[in-house]
């Protein structure tokens, strides 16, 4: 059976479910749970066969569907025994799908509004010119913006300054070996995890240099998905890699 579904287009399990419901013209208020479960699992199989990584959320939904299916198979007597009104096990799922559909549509109508910078433009005036040295009254700032400012800062480690020479506690070669060791445990690492977790300024610079040297030696590759996206370090299979690292003198850092 052919599934012509561009799975990467689905933003999550709810999105995929909605698509399947529409495609197979099912009634969202009375979802044939056995059928939707089969369709959903088939879609996941397609993902697997394409070697796509299936996010955990998709698997959670699969188990939810199977759970609902099993509850629907239980004889309704049991519920009656409890003297309680029987709740349709599909109810929560239906609510979630309806809610999700609503915001999906809302997103589309937001996109149709004239967006600043896409559809409409304002005059571009250098705001800083007056923000800095003006003595006008300050515009109130919500407290949380202060927290946000700090969050932004802390998320970006300060750039290594070019004018300062690091006094070395740790050699570049030593650090390069440590980075390689990290990469031997995981084939790829976010660059920021390697550099950002350094505990002082010098270590940060030494790490930075180490990574550059490793790249130069062809022991790691520095990759980026797209402009401004996260930078990743990839291990290059070449063992024993650590042996290829010369001493610091050879790097010229002494």
């Amino acid at each position: 059976m052919a599934y012509h579904i561009d799975l990467e287009n689905f933003k999550g399990p709810l999105d995929l479910l909605l698509h399947l419901i529409k495609q197979h013209e099912m009634d969202i208020y009375d979802i044939p749970i056995a059928e939707i479960t089969a369709q959903y699992l088939a879609a996941l199989d397609t993902m697997k066969s394409l070697n796509l990584e299936i996010a955990g959320e998709f698997l959670v939904m699969a188990s939810t569907l199977l759970h609902i299916k099993s509850r629907l198979l239980l004889p309704s007597r049991e519920a009656a025994d409890n003297d309680e009104e029987e709740v349709d096990p599909r109810e929560e799922l239906v609510h979630r799908l309806l809610e999700y559909q609503k915001y999906k549509e809302a997103a589309q109508s937001l996109e149709r509004l004239p967006l600043l910078g896409r559809d409409v433009f304002v005059r571009q005036i250098a705001d800083e010119a007056m923000a800095g040295n003006d003595d006008g009254e300050l515009q109130p700032v919500p407290l949380f913006e202060l927290v946000e400012a700090l969050r932004r800062l802390l998320q970006e480690p300060p750039p290594p300054p070019v004018h300062e020479v690091a006094r070395e506690r740790l050699s570049v070669a030593e650090r390069a070996r440590q980075v390689l060791e990290l990469l031997s445990r995981r084939p790829q690492l976010p660059f920021l995890d390697v550099v950002g977790l350094g505990c002082d300024r010098e270590l940060l610079i030494v790490t930075f240099l180490a990574v550059l040297e490793l790249a130069k030696l062809g022991l790691v590759r520095i990759l980026q998905g797209q402009h401004h996206a996260a930078i990743w370090l990839h291990a290059v299979e070449q063992r024993p890699a650590a042996a290829a690292i010369p001493v610091d003198e050879a790097f010229g850092y002494c």
Binding site: A106, R118, R123
Partner: protein
């Protein structure tokens, strides 16, 4: 200081809006023009200007936003302007728009609410929206862990050209859900948020 006639006011208000780095309120315009000028008079002249722009097909329109009046180009000219600037249009991904819609319509909401409603983790998208000031933290929810509550700020309205949240496009089914059902979904979403957190902890352990 002599009082200004309508023609003079029109010229001056146009000059002020033209030179302002952002939206300007009637009161601010009035204060800059004449100590005795009532803001209502300014608003009336602004209306005249707005009408004139529409009729004489100027290259810009006068728009009223949450933070005041602002001159903006017309949507149908976007293509030409982008060509002059050699810029690609500002884009929001579908995930970002979905997240933004949930936050705009349901604010204040927690990350757990957003994740639950979307069925996926919204961390990366939230960061983008926070960085672009389309979303901001508005407080903390009175729950264990005191999760941060998110909402939209003035930049959101400015970005979409709205005077207030009341101008958001209405959701067709938005009011059709009975309130008790809404509440049920609310509590479910909270429970789910906790379950998610729980699960994360386990999978790491």
């Amino acid at each position: 200081m002599k009082l200004l006639d309508t023609a003079e006011l029109k010229t001056l208000i146009e000059a002020l809006l033209f030179a302002a780095p952002g939206p300007v309120r009637a009161g601010q315009l009035a204060a800059a023009l004449h100590p005795d000028l009532p803001p209502a008079r300014v608003s009336a002249v602004v209306e005249l200007l707005a009408e004139e722009y529409r009729q004489t097909r100027r290259g810009f329109v006068l728009q009223e936003l949450a933070e005041g009046y602002q001159l903006r180009t017309r949507p149908e000219h976007a293509e030409y302007i982008r060509r002059l600037h050699h810029s690609r249009p500002v884009r929001l991904s579908r995930a970002a728009l979905e997240t933004l819609a949930i936050i705009a319509y349901r604010q204040p909401v927690t990350r757990a609410d957003v994740d639950y409603l979307r069925g996926v983790d919204s961390g990366a998208v939230m960061k983008t929206l926070l960085d672009r000031h389309l979303v901001r933290m508005v407080g903390r929810k009175d729950l264990p862990g005191r999760p941060v509550l998110y909402g939209t700020g003035p930049e959101f309205l400015e970005f979409f050209g709205l005077r207030s949240l009341a101008e958001l496009p209405s959701l067709p089914e938005f009011n059709e859900l009975p309130p008790d059902l809404l509440e049920a979904v609310e509590s479910l979403s909270t429970a789910a948020g906790e379950a998610f957190a729980d699960q994360d902890g386990k999978s790491q352990g």
